[in-house]
């Protein structure tokens, strides 16, 4: 039996207050009528209106979403392949280098990743724009995807795949019919992680983009450098709302999936 203690209650209250109050303030002040962000002058939604009419922000948002969808989708395919190789392919020459290249981007400072990719793109004469950002984002987020997917692959029973092969499945069919449904939650959360990482990235995108493509974080960063502005607060509020809804939905879906899986396993164990 755990004792309720004042210490724990205080730690939780203060901790979550610290984590959430700055964001709550940000949201509240996005509805401020005053241009001065720190002075409250009554409720207003005018900054949302200005945001919707601001072509530059809309264009940047569109570029960001395009980049995020493309890079996270390619990264999910490549990252799942890489995870499969790491967990299932056994030994092959260059395996150490391979796993090193999967883990290194996770700890590599963004400034270095950005600089090195930019120098590559210039070296091979590739025009910088949406394509180069997609290539850059795919490269680092596939590593995150492969870590998420391989942790799921490690825990599941290899004999299920072997049974499918014994029963006449081709390796690809075994993957599609047995492995993929089992690792699907990890693949989906890998895609979501890659998507958010891409949506969020300022440093690597700044290095690898050209004049033709400005992403939302680049736009926000250059606006924010000049100081706090209510339009950015409105934009942040929209982004926070989307993320919150997304995370809550994702957790409900995984919870349902877990319940269903537990039920299926119980059914499978019951003697016929």
């Amino acid at each position: 039996m755990r004792r309720f203690s004042w210490f724990n209650a205080t730690a939780l209250t203060l901790g979550f207050a610290f984590l959430y109050i700055p964001m709550i303030i940000l949201v509240i002040y996005s509805f401020n009528a005053s241009k001065l962000v720190t002075v409250w002058a009554g409720f207003s939604t005018q900054w949302y209106g200005e945001l919707v009419r601001n072509e530059e922000f809309l264009n940047a948002a569109w570029v960001t979403i395009k980049v995020a969808v493309m890079s996270s989708t390619i990264a999910t395919v490549l990252g799942t392949m890489a995870a499969y190789v790491l967990v299932r392919a056994g030994r092959f020459s260059g395996r150490t280098l391979f796993s090193g290249m999967i883990y290194a981007p996770l700890v590599m400072p963004e400034v270095i990743t950005g600089l090195s990719l930019l120098l590559l793109f210039i070296g091979i004469g590739l025009d910088r724009g949406v394509l180069t950002i997609v290539l850059a984002h795919t490269t680092f987020s596939m590593c995150y995807v492969s870590v998420v997917v391989s942790s799921r692959l490690v825990t599941f029973d290899k004999s299920l795949e072997e049974a499918a092969l014994d029963l006449g499945c081709s390796p690809f069919e075994a993957f599609r019919l047995v492995t993929l449904p089992i690792i699907a939650p990890a693949v989906i959360s890998g895609w979501l992680l890659a998507f958010t990482l891409s949506l969020d990235d300022l440093v690597i995108a700044s290095f690898t983009t050209g004049p033709s493509a400005t992403t939302l974080p680049i736009k926000i960063f250059s606006a924010v450098r000049l100081g706090v502005s209510p339009e950015i607060n409105a934009l942040s509020t929209i982004m926070i709302a989307i993320v919150t809804i997304g995370v809550i939905m994702a957790s409900l879906i995984t919870k349902q999936a877990a319940v269903r899986q537990a039920r299926d396993e119980r059914m499978a164990e019951r003697p016929a």
């Binding site: 490549l78 392949m81 700890v107 963004e110 400034v111 270095i112 490269t139 960063f221």
Partner: protein
């Protein structure tokens, strides 16, 4: 054949877009600045065959690294990044441990919700979370308004654009990375160990020091590395919350590249930064591996 394709596709992708770019950085860090496009020298000219290759290598030198040691901006920036990263890691641990502890002690039906509340900010844009503090910490910001109203201070404190703001920003944004590993270590802890310690005459506080802390050691180490390693190369926090006095190497690299357009020096800064990071990264990997072996 299928296995070959499966391995080759991600492998070649990583070689082309991770390894080769890095070799290019290394090469440019050994080159000289030139008033041309691209702005460095020498260029590898394969059309001249073997002679082109030897003359290319002959032109490479360590001049940029030598330059980094002569201008004290650079080593001061490295040292101050390390110091800021170290201090803020300790601060994050002090803030994060009680939260992780309280979460692990909470009723089991509450824990998934608490966990989600810690993870949620992590999914929210990093830039936005840093930006949120700009409005709070500025001279006419909410913190100063609040403190003035309380009567604690008579004139606004200057916090934004100082190192204090950088510390606050780092603790705030990296807190989930500290809480999660400590929480997962504490959650697995067997409560009867604490009861045994108390039965054997330990006070609650000494039971905490002698039982709880050692058992959460791996979580603490993992959390500290997860905060320390990315903080060293941090760019967004020092450039938005820090001032002109805040020296961090990520910011120096950025300015060297975008403002001074000195690619060779920016590359040399990157190479040294990576060499500094190798030690904590290897220590972190060792710790993770030891933990896996202990569990396996």
């Amino acid at each position: 054949m299928r296995r070959f394709v499966l391995i080759a596709v991600p492998y070649l992708w990583l070689i082309a877009l991770f390894l080769i770019p890095f070799v290019i950085v290394l090469k440019i860090s050994l080159s000289d600045v030139a008033l041309a496009r691209p702005p460095y020298f020498p260029q590898l000219d394969l059309s001249q065959g073997w002679e082109g290759l030897t003359s290319f290598f002959a032109e490479l030198d360590f001049e940029n690294f030598w330059f980094l040691t002569t201008d004290d901006l650079y080593w001061k920036a490295y040292l101050s990044s390390l110091q800021i990263a170290l201090t803020s890691t300790v601060m994050t641990l002090i803030v994060g441990y009680p939260i992780a502890y309280a979460m692990a002690r909470a009723a089991p039906e509450w824990r998934p919700t608490l966990l989600m509340l810690v993870i949620l900010p992590f999914w929210t844009s990093f830039l936005i979370r840093v930006y949120a503090w700009m409005g709070i910490l500025s001279n006419e910001g909410l913190l100063n308004q609040f403190l003035l109203w309380l009567g604690v201070i008579n004139e606004p404190l200057t916090i934004l654009n100082t190192n204090t703001a950088v510390y606050i920003g780092i603790v705030y944004t990296y807190l989930p990375f500290m809480i999660l590993p400590i929480y997962s270590a504490l959650e697995r802890m067997d409560d009867s160990l604490l009861e045994a310690a108390e039965d054997l005459g330990c006070s609650r506080l000494s039971a905490f020091w002698l039982v709880t802390i050692p058992l959460s050691k791996n979580g603490i180490i993992a959390g500290c590395f997860l905060v320390f390693i990315p903080t060293i190369g941090e760019f967004v926090i020092p450039s938005l919350l820090g001032g002109s006095g805040t020296l961090m190497i990520g910011k120096v690299l950025w300015e060297e590249f975008f403002s001074n357009r000195d690619w060779p020096v920016a590359s040399a800064v990157a190479v040294i930064l990576l060499l500094i990071l190798v030690i904590p990264i290897i220590l972190f990997q060792r710790n993770e591996q030891k933990q896996r072996e202990a569990e396996g």
